[in-house]
């Protein structure tokens, strides 16, 4: 838009928010990110080319402009605008595909060689085959396993096993070849169809973890709080919690809060993968059972130890709507308003 036209638009009653081209991101982007966009310029034979990609460049800009506390008000405003645009694009995407959404949560430090990593991939592969859209935080570890599994939904399990062997040469996201080996898998086993799509929702707050390139659609936020809450909110058909640390446990309680108060007028299943972990190592499950007593979501809690058990729980525990959604309001209760 030329400056003269922008002025003309405003004279005629329009409102113009200009695109500031000196930022490495478009604050008003109309679509979700793709791996091809975030990793543009990446050469899988040279791991350090990642540092010049848009994903790394935006993270560097985020760091240089104050990280979570922007040094300049304009950066604060533009980041909020960017995140609103992402939410808008995410909403449009979900509506356009009309698939049931299931999330898998779990630690970013889960190694590719961890048996649980394989299990998460197999769960995601199977649920994708059944038509669910798999979503995760879009990073390494259990998150990557989620999107890897979805990526292989239309291929035989032997192909997934071959991919796991390729990825095993760089088990941790801190390994030099973590990203190059992922792109090697993508090259050997290219995207097949939209039936294998999945959605990653990462954040530049944790920008030191590159997003997984197996997520075909990426809703990357600056604000981690929006990203976390949004991820949990869209997973109406359930969240599978694989073993994780503080981040995963935070997500459990965010999800519980939505279920406990029926904030969205709906309660969703919560499936915990690894009985020993969730009842003894990090004994969250007994606490949740106690918390859920007398609440609808109490019957939507499940424990699983295998791929089959996990899938069975997701398929047999549908989200439910409470008979009465919380609608108490001070003005309605006391003043006769809002009826």
């Amino acid at each position: 838009m030329t400056p003269a036209f922008a002025l003309d638009v405003q004279r005629r009653g329009g409102i113009v928010f200009p695109h500031l081209k000196d930022r490495p991101y478009h604050a008003f982007r109309p679509h979700l990110y793709t791996p091809e966009e975030l990793f543009a310029g990446f050469d899988r034979h040279d791991p350090c080319t990642y540092c010049q990609t848009p994903d790394a460049t935006i993270h560097l800009h985020w760091q240089e402009t104050g990280q979570v506390a922007p040094k300049h008000v304009l950066d604060g405003i533009l980041r909020r605008a960017h995140d609103q645009s992402i939410t808008d694009a995410l909403t449009e995407y979900l509506e356009s595909i009309n698939r049931k959404v299931v999330a898998i949560m779990g630690g970013h430090s889960m190694l590719r060689t961890d048996p649980r990593y394989r299990e998460v991939a197999q769960i995601a592969r199977s649920l994708t085959q059944k038509g669910y859209l798999l979503v995760s935080g879009g990073g390494p570890g259990a998150m990557e396993a989620t999107h890897l599994g979805a990526w292989f939904a239309e291929r035989p399990n032997s192909d997934l096993e071959d991919a796991l062997s390729i990825l095993a040469k760089a088990p941790s996201y801190r390994d030099l070849e973590w990203l190059t080996s992922a792109f090697e898998v993508r090259e050997r086993y290219p995207w097949t169809s939209e039936a294998c799509d999945s959605l990653g929702i990462p954040t530049w707050l944790y920008g030191h973890d590159p997003p997984t390139p197996f997520a075909t659609h990426i809703a990357k936020y600056f604000a981690n709080s929006l990203r976390e809450e949004g991820l949990i909110t869209i997973a109406v058909h359930g969240i599978i919690f694989s073993p994780g640390s503080a981040g995963t446990i935070q997500e459990i309680f965010q999800d519980v809060t939505q279920n406990h108060y029926a904030t969205l007028g709906i309660v969703s299943p919560m499936v915990f993968l690894d009985k020993i972990f969730w009842t003894e190592t990090k004994p969250i499950y007994p606490l949740l059972q106690s918390l859920a007593e007398g609440h609808l979501y109490g019957k939507l809690l499940g424990l699983a130890d295998t791929v089959e058990e996990t899938i069975h729980l997701i398929e047999t525990l549908p989200p439910e709507k409470p008979e009465q959604s919380p609608n108490w309001h001070f003005c309605r209760a006391h003043c006769g308003m809002r009826d």
């Binding site: 928010f17 109309p30 679509h31 049931k100 809450e229 939505q258 439910e320």
Partner: protein, 81 residues
Amino acid sequence: MALKDSAIPGLLSSPTTAPGLTAYSGRHTLGQMKELHSVDEILKHLQETAHLESVVFQGVSLTEIESQLSNVTLDKSIFLG
């Protein structure tokens, strides 16, 4: 009461959603406003309605069609980027 198999019933049925997600009111809309993402969508909308009132233009380069918009009503329209 089990829900029907819609993709995201919580968002479709709930009047409000959690922070980070706006109400789910339909594709290409921000709230109740029509959202246009490309020159083609703009021209199609213009052909159908003969105005561009209360429309959101998001991330579209308008340079090529500025002249076509010179006599069109733009009241309450929002140009994002």
